[in-house]
């Protein structure tokens, strides 16, 4: 573990940037139809309980990384294997996010640039930040959060002024309640809310441990409300059919902004917001993998792992899927069931049960 400390406000900002990033890009909870915003709110509430599991585990071992306390809980062999699997999960998730942002940049702004070059540029910035440590990641977050927030508010204002919002597109309300529940529990709970499992690698760096619960719940709540509003906005502007078909619904919404016949094509601002978010998401995942690997393999300088693991993420992002639709399908059907459900829900709950009984005995 590196010798660094971050404040509660820095953690709050990091959590918001991390959760918002690619969730703004993809059609989140779209299987719930017009009620996708409701599915997001339900998933947000459930994820607060899920966070309580992560937080309870942290309370048992506040000074240790999850890769270390897993060894204490389930033994050396199983604990180390599980920790290694978690590192692989973080790297795989980072590669998936990198791919999404690479494709987004290519399809919107750089159609002639090869995907690999675009992803390489992004990962090199990530590698440099991770190399500098968590304090630098957190401080960069503070700086860019303000930029992202102001730009986001500006876009919201433009959408409202241009008169695109048609609330009737959101009706009828609760057409199929079973679909809403199913989407919340099978998709939205894992992306973006369950992804905060990677923050368990950062919790030990927090300088005020008692503020963790309040900070994280506030961050999850804020993200949930922003995402629910975004999806409601997408559907009310584009209509359900177009939102379902769009690869990047928010992008289509922003592309339809036209104020006074002179203010158009503000999608560049959206790209800027997303690149900021994507950079933080990949950075946090790679950072989690780097410190996890350093503690697991006894590497004295974790920063030396940043570049090699960054290259692993880069190459993996190229082979993670044949094309973008396949990548989306994998993210909706296979990845949640075989990776996110066990790593984000089942294993932490089991570890908490074991920790409870182990600490009761002593």
């Amino acid at each position: 573990m590196e010798k660094a400390k971050i404040s509660a406000s820095q953690l709050f900002i990091l959590m918001i940037l991390f959760q918002l990033s690619n969730s703004l890009l993809i059609p989140l909870a779209i299987n719930a139809g017009r009620d996708s915003w409701l599915a997001i709110i339900i998933a947000m509430i459930v994820s607060i309980f899920l966070f309580s599991v992560y937080q309870a585990l942290y309370q048992y071992y506040p000074a240790l990384l999850p890769t270390d306390y897993m060894e204490k809980l389930i033994g050396k062999v199983f604990g180390r294997t599980l920790a290694f699997l978690y590192i692989l999960f973080f790297l795989f998730s980072a590669a998936r996010v990198l791919r999404e942002f690479g494709v987004m940049l290519l399809s919107l702004a750089f159609p002639e640039t090869p995907l690999f070059v675009m992803s390489a540029l992004l990962i090199l910035v990530v590698v440099y930040t991770v190399y500098k440590g968590i304090e630098v990641v957190a401080r960069t977050g503070e700086l860019l959060f303000v930029v992202m927030g102001l730009l986001g508010l500006f876009l919201l204002l433009l959408i409202a002024i241009s008169g695109l919002i048609d609330i009737s597109n959101l009706k009828p309300f609760l057409e199929e309640p079973s679909k809403v529940i199913k989407t919340a529990f099978t998709e939205t709970l894992y992306v973006p809310f369950g992804e905060i499992i990677v923050f368990t690698m950062i919790f030990p760096y927090l300088n005020q441990a008692r503020k963790l619960k309040k900070t994280a719940i506030f961050a999850i709540g804020t993200t949930g409300v922003i995402l629910a509003l975004t999806m409601a906005l997408n559907i009310s502007v584009l209509g359900l059919a177009l939102t379902e078909r769009a690869l990047f619904p928010l992008l289509s919404t922003i592309q339809s902004i036209e104020v006074g016949e002179f203010l158009e094509r503000v999608d560049v601002i959206f790209v800027l917001i997303l690149v900021i978010g994507g950079f933080f998401k990949v950075s946090v995942y790679v950072y989690g993998a780097v410190i996890g690997t350093a503690s697991l393999f006894n590497i004295k300088e974790p920063s030396r792992l940043a570049y090699p693991l960054g290259m692993v993420v880069l190459l993996l992002s190229m082979i993670v899927a044949n094309n973008y639709p396949q990548h989306l399908q994998e993210g909706l059907k296979v990845f949640p069931l075989y990776a996110q459900l066990p790593f984000q829900v089942i294993i932490p709950v089991l570890l908490l049960i074991i920790a409870f009984f182990k600490n009761k005995k002593t």
């Binding site: 590669a95 090869p114 690999f116 792992l305 090699p308 692993v312 190459l315 993996l316 082979i319 396949q326």
Partner: protein, 74 residues
Amino acid sequence: MKILGISLFMFILLAGISLGFDLLQGFNLSTILKTFNPLYVMELPELTVLCLLILILILRPVFSFLQKRQEKKR
């Protein structure tokens, strides 16, 4: 060298996992293997960037290894 070994090991495992996910989605092996190789879809500029990145990856451990050997000789 240890770091390079760990990274390579992780990449092989992750590539295998990615292959597994593709199989679970119902794709046949020959289709997956075609795009499974990242070099397969790359053109000359991409290959140049890749070679440069790999060179940087290898140079640092080799350089530190040579430095350590020199120090030992002294």
